[in-house]
């Protein structure tokens, strides 16, 4: 029961995480979807929510199998030793993965390694260990299921069915001195999981924002009612962004043009309601207004299927440059935004100009843009 829920949570978390990774680091075959515009809000919100759900589920699962850890003799054969080693790796990886994932949403990094790499590769350790674990335990799982169907058959004949004691988790077995019934334990874990998910998912989903007690982010907060991930001060761009001689350079091959802010504002402006959704799980809907990227690229005669490189005034790091595949550069809702919620962009939101595209991770919505080029 717990194993099934935890396996499901881990699998969903893995798949949504993999999707996020592929969006940021796309292979050649990657299919980019720009609709629904809230696609990444959903996938990343679910990623963080299932990650948080797996905190109580993992704790409960490990608690229920804890007596297995103390079983004697500890090692019976080489195969047994290998199995126990693989379980130790599975458990340790799961604990670390869930912990660093949670702390990452706080922007807290108290560890001596790269979050992005380790979180990604540990995910492969976990999903591989999960598949292996299911393969090894399949007879047990099937026995459990067939026993349940036997129970169902018996229950159909008799009124009360058979006692559930046979399939209890190891730690709930009668006689181990614990005061839990199987049903009570599962109910409490379900309730706890529900509470932590509902009390945090409001950072990702507007309809839950009223219950947001324990998430690191609040909707509708920050300058212009939109949270930020990286301030202008953190990025060290304030002077360059506020400089009166700022111009945007647009280029395609040998054709190059520059635009002042006034010239950009004189181009046709479009306004769209688009969410910004961060890899850390928070998201925020907002009204963005600015120039369509495809209009901007047409001014330098760029081909319609142009792939773009966007450069920020922030130098280096993951935020310094972003790559924009044609699916986004062609989309009518992909803007070089100059305004947010009816006002010029706040400096922390990327003044004088930033990218906003439908269905992309926030880290790729480059702020403080100064160059857009066809590559």
């Amino acid at each position: 029961m717990l194993g099934r829920w935890l396996g499901l949570a881990f699998t969903v978390c893995f798949l949504t995480g993999l999707f996020s990774h592929l969006l940021q680091d796309p292979p050649d075959w990657m299919l980019f979807l720009t609709r629904p515009v809230w696609l990444y809000v959903a996938t990343q919100g679910i990623h963080v929510a299932t990650g948080i759900a797996s905190v109580p589920l993992l704790a409960a699962k490990l608690w229920s199998v804890y007596p297995e850890l103390l079983r004697w003799p500890p090692l019976k054969s080489v195969v047994h030793a290998l199995e126990r080693a693989s379980i130790a790796l599975f458990v340790a990886s799961s604990l670390v993965e869930v912990t660093i994932g949670l702390l990452n949403t706080f922007q807290w990094y108290p560890w001596p390694f790269s979050f992005r790499d380790v979180h990604y590769w540990l995910a492969w350790v976990i999903i591989g260990s999960l598949a292996l674990h299911i393969a090894v335990k399949m007879p047990l799982i099937l026995a459990h299921w067939s026993r349940r169907s036997d129970e169902a058959a018996i229950a159909a004949d008799t009124e009360r069915g058979v006692p559930a004691g046979k399939t209890d988790p190891a730690a709930v077995k009668p006689g181990t001195g614990h005061g839990w019934s199987r049903r009570g334990f599962l109910a409490a874990i379900t309730a706890g999981t529900g509470v932590v998910v509902l009390a945090t998912a409001g950072q990702s989903f507007a309809w839950l924002s009223g219950l947001n007690l324990f998430a690191p982010r609040r909707m509708d907060s920050g300058p212009q009612g939109v949270p930020i991930n990286r301030t202008a001060a953190q990025a060290g761009v304030a002077d360059a962004a506020l400089a009166p001689d700022w111009v945007l350079t647009v280029s395609s091959g040998s054709v190059q043009k520059t635009f002042t802010l006034a010239q950009l504002a004189a181009l046709p402006q479009y306004s769209y309601g688009l969410p910004i959704a961060c890899v850390e799980g928070w998201s925020q809907g907002a009204q963005w207004r600015g120039v369509r990227i495809r209009d901007l690229m047409a001014t330098v005669g760029a081909p319609t299927d142009a792939e773009l490189q966007i450069s920020s005034m922030e130098k280096g790091g993951v935020y310094g440059r972003s790559f924009m595949p044609a699916a986004y550069s062609q989309d009518e809702q992909t803007l070089l935004a100059l305004e947010l919620n009816g006002e010029p962009l706040d400096l922390d939101h990327g003044y004088p100009a930033r990218i906003i595209a439908p269905g992309r991770p926030g880290v790729l919505q480059t702020k403080w843009v100064h160059k857009v080029e066809v590559i």
Binding site: I52, V55, P56, L62, W63, V91, S93, L95, V96, I100, L103, F106, Q107, W108, W111, P112, F113, D117, V118, Y120, W121, V125, I127, G128, S129, A131, L132, I134, A135, V136, K137, M138, P139, A143, S146, H178, G179, W180, S181, G184, F185, A188, A191, G192, T193, V195, A199, T200, L213, F214, P216, R217, G222, P227, I228, N229, R230, A232, A233, Q234
Partner: protein, 170 residues
């Protein structure tokens, strides 16, 4: 150890199970191999040592400290709630478990606030992260939980007594 025996209802089903197991096992090993390759190719050796240390400490802290402590707490609870009926004991236990789970998720938030907020590590602290009063929220949550659990325990007690009375009457 009780052997996990499958009762093969048909030889065909048995073979399917074998293939599914083999495929899952092979996929699992492939993913693990890919992960090992990924770690070695992308993570510098010093960082790998850090990862190994975190894995080891996670296992030690969880299996060596957290589980024994919660088990002890569970045993102590059984003594404290000795006078209550089994359903009431379960409610107290369940409420404490829910509270513990919420605390487990909220405590790192409070700690992160303490570590990251004062003075703002690095320049230009970001005011839109960790902005809630999580200590207050956690306190209120525990209070509401305690009151709710007490009300339910009392209600169960009353109901139980009334049904006992009814039993003696009829």
């Amino acid at each position: 150890m009780r052997l996990p025996l499958v009762t093969p209802s048909a030889p065909g089903e048995h073979r399917t199970v074998w293939w599914v197991r083999a495929a899952l096992g092979a996929l699992g090993l492939a993913a693990l191999g890919y992960a090992v390759f990924g770690f070695l190719a992308n993570v510098p050796p010093m960082q790998l040592i850090g990862v190994a240390a975190w894995l080891a400490v996670a296992l030690l802290v969880h299996d060596g400290v957290l589980v024994p402590l919660t088990t002890l707490a569970g045993g102590g609870l059984s003594r404290l709630t000795y006078g209550l009926g089994p359903v009431q004991q379960e409610i107290v236990r369940g409420a404490l478990l829910v509270g513990a789970v919420v605390t487990l998720v909220a405590a790192p938030l409070i700690r992160a606030q303490q570590v990251l907020q004062p003075g703002g590590q690095g320049s230009g602290a970001n005011g839109t992260v960790l902005q809630g009063d999580y200590t207050l929220a956690l306190g209120v949550f525990w209070l509401v939980l305690a009151v709710a659990a007490a009300v339910v325990v009392a209600a169960v007690g009353l109901y139980g007594r009334r049904s006992k009375v009814r039993k003696t009457r009829f």
